[in-house]
Symmetry: C2
Subunit: 207 residues, 2 copies
Amino acid sequence: MNRKLIIPDIVVGRLPRYLQALQRLQKRAVQTTSSKELGDILGISAAQIRKDLSQFGEFGKQGTGYSVPFLIDRLEDILKLKHDWDIALVGVGDLGHAIIRYQGFSNRGFCVSMAFDNDPEKIGTSINGLIVENIQNMPARIQEAQVKIAMLTVPAAFAQQVAEDLVKAGVTAILNYAPLVLSLPKHVQVEYIDPIISLQHMTYYLE
Amino acid sequence: MNRKLIIPDIVVGRLPRYLQALQRLQKRAVQTTSSKELGDILGISAAQIRKDLSQFGEFGKQGTGYSVPFLIDRLEDILKLKHDWDIALVGVGDLGHAIIRYQGFSNRGFCVSMAFDNDPEKIGTSINGLIVENIQNMPARIQEAQVKIAMLTVPAAFAQQVAEDLVKAGVTAILNYAPLVLSLPKHVQVEYIDPIISLQHMTYYLE
């Protein structure tokens, strides 16, 4: 039996938040924490956190709480963050540019190691030491380096085609910034970042 | 009885996606759709979509489907998108800069109408016609213009303090790009955009 099949995706989606909270505690040299403390940081109930973590094993003892370094170690293991993942970024517009220059990936498990665009003015330029490559070379470069994760920051009109090319080259996880839903084979993970969707969610509650 | 209290937030969170799919259909001049077609576009089951929409009233007839313009109208009304919302952006780094230059807000209900920073080199400069203002003037400017929504693109170390200042000035919805959870009064809506959290969610499923 594949154990993974029985962990609901919504639980998996909360694990990175737990890890983030734990890493912040570790920065402050906190050694032990509780589901209550984590819950206060994250705005999630302590019961929910205990229930989520219990799906992956016994991580803490009643009354003594969780060891911060131990729980970080376990979550990094579960989320496969024990080594850095290379990321191919496609589309070096304003947003792609900002992402390449962002310093926050390297200490959280990721490295933007390739960037592609179709604009001759951008190809060959360097951003934070990363050379923008011709998108025509993308499939071969990704296949060769066995990159599994891509960030898609191309205009919406190109996103579906580029995503299909990425998948053909072996990519199995795409973080899509283009404001549309991609239609891809089931084995491909897709996550969406669309500020408008988040804003429209909030306006529902505004007066 | 406040009807809103009984609609689960997870349902509300899917409405912007339905609206996005409908707007794409409208662009292609599609007049009528079905929960099956919407579900195929969004990767959500038709039954889920029917159940979600039924919480807000009768929007379609069995067998004839949904009128695209009518459903767009209803969703814009429910999500309070009948008028554009002004947004105050705080932190004009690479990401803030990219957001100000992004063209996709205006036709989806939002307008970045103020931008603030504390860097003297940035204050007074113009990005796409928007003048970057001194963050010291932020509370007065927001209060005066009665801006309710802010985008937070400051470094993590400043995010909590700036968020508290925004709330004091009357902001009740914050889209937070800083990689930490904000601790704010309950009446304030907060949504988070953190690419690392999304990436770590996907690596769980990678081999």
